[in-house]
């Protein structure tokens, strides 16, 4: 049974149109002009237990709105949401008892107190019994390496340590679902590695379902089995990463380093995208011609010293999606 079900969810915001100038300001005070913005436009998806999902899209695409609706902070304008079979709108407390949420930019820890004190509070709020608390803390300390700084005030912690503290805080009460909003933002490589490791571990050990919103492409590539890409309130893609990348960017890049300068002629199945000095780059559709065939053809004409074939990355795929957004907004 799906652990999260979203059916035809719509979220409209009503905003007041603000215009510059004193006259307009006065008028807006008495007769405010309202505008409806549709942040989430008929979105449906289901998530099975144990998945790690990347919920991604350009800024303003409606990602945090969806996360807020899934956690019960926000109510949808229409449509249905069920988390573990319960509607967050109707039974907020039951849903959040089973939810862990981490906002990358905002901590829920007490700034001036030792890290462990925040855990003490959360343990009581979520009614975690002594045995479970001990076991969870052991596991969390183990994976996250908390012993080094669990006794230090949160304000003294580095960003990576604080993020680990927030992750522990979110998992303390053994939730089966974890929402992470930009968890690796601003972290150094080592910290990012630790966070990603943690997510993989708890997903494996506890079958925790994870929904991750992030702009970090490494996060997506290294963690997510599936991504849901949203743009302008609608789902643009929903599926395994490999399939999406393949679908959006069948293009490959063949980078060639020549032994000596030569005349470079275009190839019927490939496009020259770069040619300076001894370096030539060909772009080709792998569905039209295989890399090996292209290399065979070109090596007949060109004195090749070295070459490499580059696969598109999720970044290329996303660029395609976001490009579409730009085109649309430029026209609008």
């Amino acid at each position: 049974m799906a652990i999260i079900e979203v059916e035809h969810v719509v979220k409209d915001y009503i905003t007041v149109v603000k215009k510059p100038g004193i006259h307009a300001a006065l008028k807006s005070l008495l007769f405010p002009e309202k505008k409806t913005v549709r942040a989430v436009d008929d979105i449906s998806f289901t998530i099975e237990p144990g998945e790690i999902i990347g919920y991604i899209g350009p800024n303003g695409a409606g990602k945090s709105t969806m996360i807020k609706m899934l956690s019960g902070i926000l109510h949808p304008t229409s449509g249905e949401i069920r988390v573990c079979g319960i509607s967050p709108q109707q039974n907020r407390k039951a849903v959040v008892q089973n939810l862990g949420v981490v906002f990358g930019q905002r901590t829920q820890l007490y700034w001036d107190l030792q890290l462990r004190e925040s855990f003490e509070l959360l343990r009581r709020i979520y009614r975690v019994d002594a045995k479970t608390f001990r076991e969870n803390m052991e596991m969390l300390q183990d994976i996250l390496g908390l012993e080094d700084f669990i006794g230090r005030p949160v304000r003294q912690l580095s960003l990576g340590q604080r993020m680990r503290g927030d992750l522990a805080a979110a998992m303390l009460h053994s939730p089966s679902i974890l929402f992470l909003d930009e968890p690796t933002i601003g972290l150094d490589a080592e910290a990012k590695h630790a966070i990603r490791n943690f997510i993989r571990e708890i997903n494996k050990a506890r079958k925790v379902t994870v929904i991750l919103t992030t702009h970090d492409l490494d996060d997506i590539e290294k963690l997510c089995s599936r991504v849901i890409v949203v743009n302008r309130g609608k789902i643009v893609e929903d599926g395994p990463i490999g399939a999406i990348v393949n679908k959006l960017t069948p293009m490959r890049l063949l980078e060639i380093e020549l032994k000596e300068p030569a005349s470079v002629r275009p190839h019927p199945a490939a496009e020259i995208v770069r040619h300076d000095g001894l370096h030539v780059s060909y772009r080709f559709d792998k569905n039209r011609i295989s890399a090996s065939d292209l290399i065979a053809d070109l090596s007949k004409q060109l004195p090749i010293r070295d070459l490499s074939v580059k696969d598109p990355t999720i970044e290329d795929a996303l660029r395609e999606i976001y490009k579409e957004k730009e085109l649309v907004s430029r026209g609008a």
Partner: protein, 270 residues
């Protein structure tokens, strides 16, 4: 039912311990506050004395009367500041998103808001209040009989509820306007002038406003008048007893408004 009480009780106790530690973190910061507040309040009493020395009385209120109402008002203010000061934070929490965190926890939102900050620092307001009130009691010859003490406790409880309700209602405006207007400063000034000074200094219209529309008069003016045998309004019952009742009703109203605002916040977001 019992388990719910135990749950909320244990969380409240933990909040108490943690906020105590938090407020102890920077004790020196309080030095300026500990100087300013007593200066403000004791100077307030002194200025009243100066005025009365020249002008004998204010609308029939003598110096002992004035100190009594000043002290009584200050007592409920101090208590409110100790227990309910987080009601001033609603606007700020809505704006910077910390309010969302309360919604993410499986407990009543209002409880989290208020219980999460027991303002020990508010004792700086409360202690001068106690001193001034006791001083006033000695001036007016207040009798510390059991019925009087009981009355006093009920009145203070009701007064604190009225004050708290007021700030909760004002704070709840942020749910609709999504702005942090810091209107509570405005409310504080009004409260100071209407609870620490006799309400009948002001025109009848204002007295009526603060009796029948916003029951500020019941915070200290009517109770003080009753204690001092100085009923200005002719009403058939002891107004002092009305205060706790009005306090509960007004507080209930503020709860309705808070929850209504919360629902609005959940449907509109930020």
């Amino acid at each position: 039912m019992l388990s719910v009480l135990r749950h909320y009780g244990s969380v409240a106790a933990c909040y108490l311990r943690l906020t105590f530690q938090q407020q102890l973190e920077y004790p020196l910061f309080l030095v300026s506050w500990m100087l300013m507040i007593p200066i403000q309040y004791f100077a307030g009493i002194y200025l009243l004395k100066v005025i009365i020395d020249h002008f004998r009385h204010l609308n029939g209120w003598t110096y002992p009367d004035l100190v009594f109402i000043f002290g009584l008002g200050l007592l409920s203010h101090g208590l409110m500041v100790v227990f309910f000061i987080n009601s001033w934070m609603i606007g700020r929490m809505v704006i910077d998103g910390t309010f969302d965190r309360l919604l993410l926890r499986p407990m009543n939102v209002f409880f989290q808001l208020i219980a999460s900050y027991f303002n020990f620092i508010g004792l700086i307001d409360l202690i001068p209040g106690i001193i001034i009130f006791l001083y006033a009691c000695s001036l007016v010859g207040f009798e510390w009989t059991l019925p009087n003490i009981l009355k006093l406790v009920l009145i203070l409880a009701g007064a604190v509820l009225i004050r708290a309700a007021l700030f909760v209602m004002i704070g709840s405006i942020a749910f609709w306007t999504k702005k942090n207007a810091a209107v509570h400063n405005f409310a504080l000034v009004i409260l100071e002038r209407t609870t620490m000074y006799p309400l009948n200094l002001y025109p009848y219209l204002i007295q009526a406003l603060f009796t029948f529309v916003i029951p500020i008069g019941f915070i200290s003016f009517y109770p003080a008048s009753a204690f001092l045998d100085r009923d200005r309004f002719v009403l058939p019952f002891d107004l002092a007893i009305l205060t706790p009742v009005i306090g509960l009703v007004f507080y209930g109203l503020s709860q309705l408004i808070f929850n209504w605002g919360l629902r609005k916040y959940e449907s509109a977001g930020t």
